[in-house]
Amino acid sequence: MALLEVTNLGISFGGLQAVAAFDMTIEAGHLYGLIGPNGAGKTTAFNMLTGMYVPSEGNIRLDGVDITGKSPEFICKAGIARTFQNIRLFKAMSVLDNVKVGMHNRIEYNMWHGIFRDKVFREKEHEMNKKAMNLLKVFGLDERAEYAASQLPYGEQRKLEICRALASDPKLLLLDEPAAGMNPNETQELMETVRKVRDDFGIAILLIEHDMKFVMGICEDITVLEYGRIIAHGDAETVSNDPRVIAAYLGGDDD
């Protein structure tokens, strides 16, 4: 059984069919890419997978559990974590606290333990701190633990967002344009980080990206969307030679 099985997923806003007949199967531990021109519906698909939007039709199963139309909270607990196209960190909070919020549903204690600062509180906080610092170390952010998230440079903010998503212990990580706004060096570094995350954490990753070199470089399987519909699917070689994909990106002469 695949980790994620999406069948015939679709959503319409008023009269506009943003995504239709979206099928996708993701195997545990694999790296997938979702590409397409601007406005193709990639982020909309992400929003349905994470419960931000309720799909109008279709079915999403994670590890055999039906998560179609469930709340983001439920889906996060079920094991899907994400990052955002325009970075969404908890800006005024410290880097460490950002990661600790990510652990919210993994290491729990009752509010009153916090008020009375009892043994449970101290143990759980210690556990959180240790885990969070280890995670930050993977991304080279451990030195920055006490900085406010907004103080980090752009590239590190992207990394911190991934770090926070990983803190929720996901089975599937969704990255929405992780390389946006990065220079070639940073992109290269990010590619290695993404690969490392997949290998070290053994999770599946689905990413949206415009940087073709990035996608072709690391994704084992690529799905191409245009106008809300899948136009191609396969490995980097197949997709990049598909005439429909080339037409979608370079503008076809079929109109």
Binding site: T50, M52, P72, E73, C76, K77, A81, R82, F84, R88, L89, F90, K91, A92, M93, L96, D97, K100, V101, G102, H104, N105, I107, E108, Y109, M111, H113, G114, I115, F116, R117, F121, K124, E125, H126, N129, M133, D142, A145, E146, Y147, S150, Q151, L152, P153, Y154, G155, Q157, R164, S168, A180, G181, N183
Partner: protein, 376 residues
Amino acid sequence: MEEKKKLKKTTRSNLLMFGFVIAFWAVIQVISLTGHMTSKLNGLLIPVCAYIVMAISLNLVVGFLGELSLGHAAFMSAGAFAGVFFYTTVGAMLPKALSVLISFLLGGAAAGIFGLLVGVPVLRLSGDYLAIVTLASGEILKNVLSALYIGKDSAGLHFSLKDQFSLGLAPDGKMLVKGAMGIPGIQKFSNFTVGIVLILITLIYVVNLKNSRAGRAITAIRDDEIAARATGLNLTHFKLTAFVPAAVFAGFAGVLYALNYSSLVADKFDYNLSINVLVMVVLGGMGNIFGGMIAAILLTVLPEMLRGFSQYRMFIYSIVLIVMMLFNQAPALVAWRERLAARVKGGREEKNETADASYFEAKKDAKDKESVKEEN
């Protein structure tokens, strides 16, 4: 090691805060024991304590949850009326200490329930809408309480929202709540130490909540609701985790405040009071508990000190308020204060400063990059 350092830093600033409260208590004790207590100062003590509790609790909503609530006085009012109603009726038959304690608990509970009733629908809104609805709910409670008549006779309790006569009291009856006249004949209870204990309890609660899992969830929601949802936080639950306790503490403050006077009227808790408390929170720096406490003291004492200026009183008060806001928030003055603080601290921290500088440079780079991206 890093972790320990951080813990030390927050504990140190918290200890400073608790130390300040206890020092405040000690100074007042010394003043009163040496016989230097004036009646003016004495009359201010309980209001100051009540306003400090109000400012700390509103900070939970405005500073940590990041929602603008303009109805904090309503919770104070709910607490005051519930607590005092018990105190003047059933409480009158109990030993005083027990009666006061139960009054506080009932006041807190009533305010908490009112907070929950208001909070559940209101917290679905945000920004201006939330501010307006909290303001309105405060005014509603004020007007309802102003029209409330309760009397008691041999047949039991009588309620009316019309007037005294529609209660239909028997000749042996007694008015307990007299509409706009409120609850009269309160046997005053003003104990500064109780006020200080209440401040300490509020402080412990708020500070510890802030530095725990629930507190992080609350500030995460403030910083980015969408990301907070995606991180698996239950928004309604944590918004109420900030809102309801804030109401409960406002209720305690209401009981403390009301027991200091011989009668209690609902008009006292209007939007002016809500705004005043909000000014304390903003002046002290949103999310800055200690700052809010200082502002609460200043803004309670200041109008009293300006009484000598009679009709110019509010004029001077406003000017002082503007100057204080500028001193606290104007960028040039903030920079000047920081330079001053750095000079006082000496070169010991110099190394840290250069690290910060390089970091700000990095931050600038990131910003440049973003603007380049936008141009594209």
